[in-house]
Protein backbone atom coordinates (compact mmCIF):
# COMPACT_ATOMS: atom_id res chain seq x y z
CA UNK A 1 0.00 0.00 0.00
CA UNK A 2 2.87 2.32 0.89
CA UNK A 3 4.41 1.73 -2.55
CA UNK A 4 1.14 2.49 -4.27
CA UNK A 5 0.81 5.69 -2.22
CA UNK A 6 4.41 6.77 -2.86
CA UNK A 7 4.17 6.53 -6.64
CA UNK A 8 1.68 9.40 -7.14
CA UNK A 9 3.69 11.52 -4.70
CA UNK A 10 6.85 11.00 -6.74
CA UNK A 11 4.99 11.77 -9.93
CA UNK A 12 3.73 15.03 -8.40
CA UNK A 13 7.25 16.02 -7.32
CA UNK A 14 8.56 15.25 -10.79
CA UNK A 15 5.81 17.32 -12.40
CA UNK A 16 6.53 20.23 -10.07
CA UNK A 17 10.21 20.15 -10.96
CA UNK A 18 9.38 20.10 -14.67
CA UNK A 19 7.18 23.17 -14.35
CA UNK A 20 9.91 24.99 -12.46
CA UNK A 21 12.51 24.30 -15.19
CA UNK A 22 10.26 25.51 -17.97
CA UNK A 23 9.55 28.92 -16.40
CA UNK A 24 10.75 31.47 -18.94
CA UNK A 25 13.41 33.96 -17.87
CA UNK A 26 12.52 37.64 -18.32
CA UNK A 27 16.17 38.63 -18.83
CA UNK A 28 16.82 39.47 -22.46
CA UNK A 29 19.72 39.88 -24.80
CA UNK A 30 20.00 43.08 -26.85
CA UNK A 31 22.30 43.72 -29.76
CA UNK A 32 23.97 47.00 -30.70
CA UNK A 33 25.78 47.00 -34.01
CA UNK A 34 28.91 49.07 -34.52
CA UNK A 35 28.67 49.89 -38.18
CA UNK A 36 30.09 52.67 -40.28
CA UNK A 37 31.60 54.34 -37.21
CA UNK A 38 28.33 54.57 -35.30
CA UNK A 39 26.45 52.64 -32.63
CA UNK A 40 23.07 51.38 -33.84
CA UNK A 41 20.85 51.93 -32.02
CA UNK A 42 22.64 54.83 -30.38
CA UNK A 43 20.10 54.89 -27.54
CA UNK A 44 18.74 51.79 -25.90
CA UNK A 45 16.60 51.05 -22.86
CA UNK A 46 17.14 47.73 -21.11
CA UNK A 47 16.13 46.14 -17.82
CA UNK A 48 18.37 45.20 -14.92
CA UNK A 49 19.63 41.67 -15.59
CA UNK A 50 19.52 42.04 -19.37
CA UNK A 51 22.55 41.38 -21.51
CA UNK A 52 23.80 43.81 -24.14
CA UNK A 53 26.05 42.61 -26.96
CA UNK A 54 28.01 45.02 -29.14
CA UNK A 55 29.09 43.58 -32.49
CA UNK A 56 31.77 45.35 -34.49
CA UNK A 57 30.77 45.22 -38.17
CA UNK A 58 33.48 47.69 -39.22
CA UNK A 59 36.90 46.76 -40.57
CA UNK A 60 38.68 48.72 -37.83
CA UNK A 61 38.79 48.18 -34.06
CA UNK A 62 36.55 50.10 -31.68
CA UNK A 63 35.88 50.24 -27.95
CA UNK A 64 32.77 50.60 -25.83
CA UNK A 65 33.88 52.79 -22.96
CA UNK A 66 31.72 54.23 -20.21
CA UNK A 67 32.08 58.02 -20.11
CA UNK A 68 32.65 57.86 -16.34
CA UNK A 69 35.15 54.98 -16.66
CA UNK A 70 32.98 52.50 -14.75
CA UNK A 71 33.45 49.86 -17.45
CA UNK A 72 35.40 49.43 -20.63
CA UNK A 73 35.32 46.77 -23.31
CA UNK A 74 38.94 47.15 -24.31
CA UNK A 75 39.61 46.72 -28.00
CA UNK A 76 36.86 45.05 -30.03
CA UNK A 77 38.43 43.93 -33.27
CA UNK A 78 36.74 43.78 -36.65
CA UNK A 79 34.01 41.17 -36.56
CA UNK A 80 34.32 40.66 -32.80
CA UNK A 81 31.73 41.24 -30.10
CA UNK A 82 31.62 42.31 -26.46
CA UNK A 83 29.00 41.38 -23.89
CA UNK A 84 27.91 43.42 -20.88
CA UNK A 85 25.29 42.54 -18.27
CA UNK A 86 23.21 45.40 -16.86
CA UNK A 87 23.63 44.80 -13.13
CA UNK A 88 22.25 48.09 -11.83
CA UNK A 89 19.78 50.73 -12.88
CA UNK A 90 21.07 54.01 -14.24
CA UNK A 91 21.88 56.02 -17.30
CA UNK A 92 25.16 55.15 -18.98
CA UNK A 93 26.73 57.31 -21.65
CA UNK A 94 29.50 55.63 -23.53
CA UNK A 95 31.84 56.24 -26.45
CA UNK A 96 34.53 54.66 -28.58
CA UNK A 97 37.83 55.63 -27.03
CA UNK A 98 39.51 55.45 -30.43
CA UNK A 99 36.87 57.56 -32.19
CA UNK A 100 35.35 59.89 -29.57
CA UNK A 101 32.64 61.19 -31.91
CA UNK A 102 31.04 57.74 -31.70
CA UNK A 103 28.68 57.93 -28.72
CA UNK A 104 25.75 56.00 -27.31
CA UNK A 105 23.51 55.88 -24.28
CA UNK A 106 22.05 53.00 -22.29
CA UNK A 107 19.21 53.49 -19.86
CA UNK A 108 18.96 50.59 -17.45
CA UNK A 109 15.65 50.44 -15.58
CA UNK A 110 14.09 48.02 -13.14
CA UNK A 111 12.16 45.38 -15.08
CA UNK A 112 8.79 46.40 -13.62
CA UNK A 113 9.41 49.98 -14.70
CA UNK A 114 9.17 49.05 -18.35
CA UNK A 115 5.85 49.86 -20.01
CA UNK A 116 3.75 46.69 -20.25
CA UNK A 117 3.28 46.98 -24.00
CA UNK A 118 7.01 47.27 -24.60
CA UNK A 119 7.81 44.34 -22.29
CA UNK A 120 5.16 42.18 -23.93
CA UNK A 121 6.47 43.01 -27.39
CA UNK A 122 10.07 42.37 -26.39
CA UNK A 123 9.20 38.99 -24.90
CA UNK A 124 7.47 38.04 -28.13
CA UNK A 125 10.53 39.14 -30.09
CA UNK A 126 12.77 37.18 -27.71
CA UNK A 127 10.74 34.01 -28.29
CA UNK A 128 10.99 34.61 -31.99
CA UNK A 129 14.75 35.07 -31.69
CA UNK A 130 15.10 31.75 -29.87
CA UNK A 131 13.55 30.05 -32.87
CA UNK A 132 16.08 31.62 -35.22
CA UNK A 133 19.67 30.67 -34.35
CA UNK A 134 21.10 33.37 -36.60
CA UNK A 135 19.26 36.19 -34.87
CA UNK A 136 21.13 38.29 -32.32
CA UNK A 137 18.37 39.50 -30.02
CA UNK A 138 15.71 42.07 -29.66
CA UNK A 139 15.75 45.80 -29.09
CA UNK A 140 13.89 48.55 -27.38
CA UNK A 141 15.25 51.71 -28.87
CA UNK A 142 14.10 55.31 -29.06
CA UNK A 143 12.46 55.45 -25.66
Amino acid sequence: VRQLFALPVLLLIGAAQTVKVEQPSTAMTHTIEIRNFAFAPARLQVAVGDTVVWINRDVVPHTVTDSLARWDSGEIGAGERWTWVASEAGRFSYLCEYHPSMTGTLEVVEAQALPFSILEQSQAESMDVQQRPDAEGSRRDGW
Binding site: N36, F37, A38, D58, V59, V60, A78, S101
Partner: protein, 183 residues
Protein backbone atom coordinates in the same frame (compact mmCIF):
# COMPACT_ATOMS: atom_id res chain seq x y z
CA UNK B 1 60.82 85.99 -33.62
CA UNK B 2 60.16 84.61 -37.09
CA UNK B 3 57.36 82.06 -37.23
CA UNK B 4 57.53 79.56 -40.04
CA UNK B 5 55.48 76.34 -39.58
CA UNK B 6 52.27 77.81 -40.97
CA UNK B 7 53.75 76.86 -44.34
CA UNK B 8 52.56 73.35 -43.52
CA UNK B 9 49.02 74.57 -43.34
CA UNK B 10 49.41 76.34 -46.64
CA UNK B 11 50.80 73.19 -48.22
CA UNK B 12 47.97 71.16 -46.78
CA UNK B 13 45.53 73.70 -48.15
CA UNK B 14 47.07 73.36 -51.59
CA UNK B 15 46.75 69.58 -51.46
CA UNK B 16 43.21 69.89 -50.36
CA UNK B 17 42.34 72.39 -53.02
CA UNK B 18 43.46 69.84 -55.59
CA UNK B 19 41.26 67.17 -54.08
CA UNK B 20 38.26 69.40 -53.69
CA UNK B 21 38.69 70.61 -57.26
CA UNK B 22 38.64 67.03 -58.53
CA UNK B 23 35.15 67.14 -60.02
CA UNK B 24 35.72 70.40 -61.87
CA UNK B 25 39.09 69.32 -63.21
CA UNK B 26 37.79 66.02 -64.46
CA UNK B 27 34.88 67.68 -66.19
CA UNK B 28 36.93 70.48 -67.73
CA UNK B 29 39.98 68.49 -68.75
CA UNK B 30 38.55 65.16 -69.72
CA UNK B 31 35.95 62.50 -69.09
CA UNK B 32 34.70 61.87 -65.55
CA UNK B 33 36.68 59.44 -63.46
CA UNK B 34 35.85 55.78 -63.96
CA UNK B 35 35.67 53.28 -61.10
CA UNK B 36 39.30 52.17 -61.46
CA UNK B 37 40.43 55.80 -61.26
CA UNK B 38 38.14 56.54 -58.32
CA UNK B 39 39.60 53.52 -56.53
CA UNK B 40 43.08 54.88 -57.14
CA UNK B 41 42.17 58.28 -55.72
CA UNK B 42 40.70 56.61 -52.62
CA UNK B 43 43.69 54.32 -52.13
CA UNK B 44 46.09 57.23 -52.61
CA UNK B 45 44.22 59.41 -50.15
CA UNK B 46 44.37 56.62 -47.55
CA UNK B 47 48.05 55.95 -48.22
CA UNK B 48 48.93 59.62 -47.81
CA UNK B 49 47.32 59.81 -44.40
CA UNK B 50 49.13 56.64 -43.34
CA UNK B 51 52.43 58.24 -44.36
CA UNK B 52 51.59 61.44 -42.47
CA UNK B 53 50.76 59.29 -39.45
CA UNK B 54 54.09 57.50 -39.70
CA UNK B 55 55.84 60.85 -39.40
CA UNK B 56 53.64 62.12 -36.57
CA UNK B 57 53.82 59.04 -34.40
CA UNK B 58 57.54 59.57 -33.93
CA UNK B 59 57.84 63.36 -34.20
CA UNK B 60 54.70 64.34 -32.29
CA UNK B 61 55.43 65.78 -28.85
CA UNK B 62 51.93 65.51 -27.37
CA UNK B 63 50.91 61.96 -26.46
CA UNK B 64 47.39 62.54 -27.80
CA UNK B 65 48.83 63.59 -31.16
CA UNK B 66 50.94 60.43 -31.33
CA UNK B 67 47.90 58.32 -30.43
CA UNK B 68 45.87 60.06 -33.12
CA UNK B 69 48.63 59.32 -35.64
CA UNK B 70 48.61 55.64 -34.62
CA UNK B 71 44.85 55.57 -35.09
CA UNK B 72 45.15 57.05 -38.57
CA UNK B 73 47.67 54.37 -39.50
CA UNK B 74 45.47 51.57 -38.15
CA UNK B 75 42.21 52.78 -39.68
CA UNK B 76 43.46 53.84 -43.10
CA UNK B 77 45.50 50.66 -43.41
CA UNK B 78 42.39 48.59 -42.70
CA UNK B 79 40.37 50.52 -45.29
CA UNK B 80 43.09 50.12 -47.91
CA UNK B 81 43.39 46.39 -47.21
CA UNK B 82 39.67 46.13 -47.79
CA UNK B 83 40.02 48.12 -51.00
CA UNK B 84 42.82 45.85 -52.21
CA UNK B 85 40.72 42.77 -51.45
CA UNK B 86 37.76 44.24 -53.32
CA UNK B 87 39.86 45.20 -56.34
CA UNK B 88 41.33 41.70 -56.44
CA UNK B 89 37.90 40.10 -56.22
CA UNK B 90 36.54 42.35 -58.98
CA UNK B 91 39.65 41.91 -61.11
CA UNK B 92 40.11 45.69 -61.24
CA UNK B 93 43.46 47.45 -61.09
CA UNK B 94 43.23 50.94 -59.61
CA UNK B 95 44.30 53.32 -62.36
CA UNK B 96 46.60 56.27 -61.70
CA UNK B 97 45.20 59.59 -62.88
CA UNK B 98 45.84 63.31 -62.69
CA UNK B 99 43.98 63.75 -59.43
CA UNK B 100 45.78 61.01 -57.55
CA UNK B 101 49.05 62.33 -59.01
CA UNK B 102 48.31 65.82 -57.75
CA UNK B 103 47.42 64.42 -54.36
CA UNK B 104 50.74 62.61 -54.23
CA UNK B 105 52.70 65.75 -55.22
CA UNK B 106 50.93 67.83 -52.59
CA UNK B 107 51.55 65.21 -49.94
CA UNK B 108 55.26 65.10 -50.63
CA UNK B 109 55.47 68.86 -50.15
CA UNK B 110 53.47 68.64 -46.92
CA UNK B 111 55.72 65.88 -45.61
CA UNK B 112 58.84 67.94 -46.26
CA UNK B 113 57.37 70.82 -44.29
CA UNK B 114 56.26 68.60 -41.43
CA UNK B 115 59.71 67.07 -41.15
CA UNK B 116 61.16 70.55 -40.70
CA UNK B 117 58.92 71.33 -37.71
CA UNK B 118 59.30 70.08 -34.15
CA UNK B 119 57.72 70.13 -30.70
CA UNK B 120 54.43 71.92 -30.21
CA UNK B 121 54.78 73.56 -33.63
CA UNK B 122 54.84 70.15 -35.23
CA UNK B 123 51.76 69.04 -33.28
CA UNK B 124 49.76 72.06 -34.37
CA UNK B 125 50.92 71.79 -37.99
CA UNK B 126 50.14 68.09 -38.19
CA UNK B 127 46.70 68.43 -36.63
CA UNK B 128 45.89 71.44 -38.84
CA UNK B 129 46.80 69.31 -41.84
CA UNK B 130 44.63 66.46 -40.60
CA UNK B 131 41.62 68.73 -40.12
CA UNK B 132 41.91 70.25 -43.58
CA UNK B 133 42.76 66.98 -45.28
CA UNK B 134 39.87 65.00 -43.80
CA UNK B 135 37.45 67.85 -44.45
CA UNK B 136 38.42 67.94 -48.11
CA UNK B 137 38.37 64.18 -48.56
CA UNK B 138 34.91 64.14 -47.02
CA UNK B 139 33.78 66.81 -49.46
CA UNK B 140 35.28 64.92 -52.40
CA UNK B 141 33.58 61.69 -51.31
CA UNK B 142 30.20 63.38 -51.03
CA UNK B 143 30.37 65.52 -54.13
CA UNK B 144 32.33 63.39 -56.57
CA UNK B 145 33.67 60.01 -55.66
CA UNK B 146 30.57 58.32 -54.23
CA UNK B 147 28.07 59.81 -56.74
CA UNK B 148 30.34 58.91 -59.68
CA UNK B 149 30.95 55.30 -58.68
CA UNK B 150 29.01 52.75 -60.71
CA UNK B 151 30.07 49.52 -58.99
CA UNK B 152 27.88 48.82 -55.95
CA UNK B 153 30.62 47.18 -53.89
CA UNK B 154 33.06 50.01 -54.51
CA UNK B 155 30.36 52.49 -53.60
CA UNK B 156 29.70 50.60 -50.35
CA UNK B 157 33.41 50.66 -49.58
CA UNK B 158 33.56 54.40 -50.16
CA UNK B 159 30.53 54.92 -47.95
CA UNK B 160 32.25 52.98 -45.20
CA UNK B 161 35.38 55.04 -45.73
CA UNK B 162 33.19 58.13 -45.41
CA UNK B 163 32.22 57.04 -41.89
CA UNK B 164 35.88 56.75 -41.00
CA UNK B 165 36.73 60.13 -42.49
CA UNK B 166 33.86 61.87 -40.67
CA UNK B 167 34.88 60.31 -37.33
CA UNK B 168 38.52 61.25 -37.92
CA UNK B 169 37.57 64.81 -38.82
CA UNK B 170 35.56 65.28 -35.62
CA UNK B 171 38.42 63.83 -33.59
CA UNK B 172 41.02 65.96 -35.37
CA UNK B 173 39.02 69.17 -34.91
CA UNK B 174 38.65 68.54 -31.19
CA UNK B 175 42.29 67.65 -30.70
CA UNK B 176 43.54 70.56 -32.82
CA UNK B 177 41.42 73.01 -30.84
CA UNK B 178 42.72 71.61 -27.55
CA UNK B 179 46.31 72.27 -28.60
CA UNK B 180 45.64 75.97 -28.57
CA UNK B 181 47.21 78.63 -30.71
CA UNK B 182 50.83 79.57 -30.91
CA UNK B 183 52.17 81.46 -27.86
Amino acid sequence: MFRKPDITVLTAAATIALLAAAPAKSQENGPPLNDAQIAHVAVTANAIDIEMGEIARTRGSDERVREFAERMITDHTAVNEQAAALASRLGVTPAANAISGSLRDGAEAAKRTLRAASGADFDRAYMAHEVDYHRSVLQALDQTLIPSTTNGELRALLEQARGAIAAHLAHAERLHASLGSKP
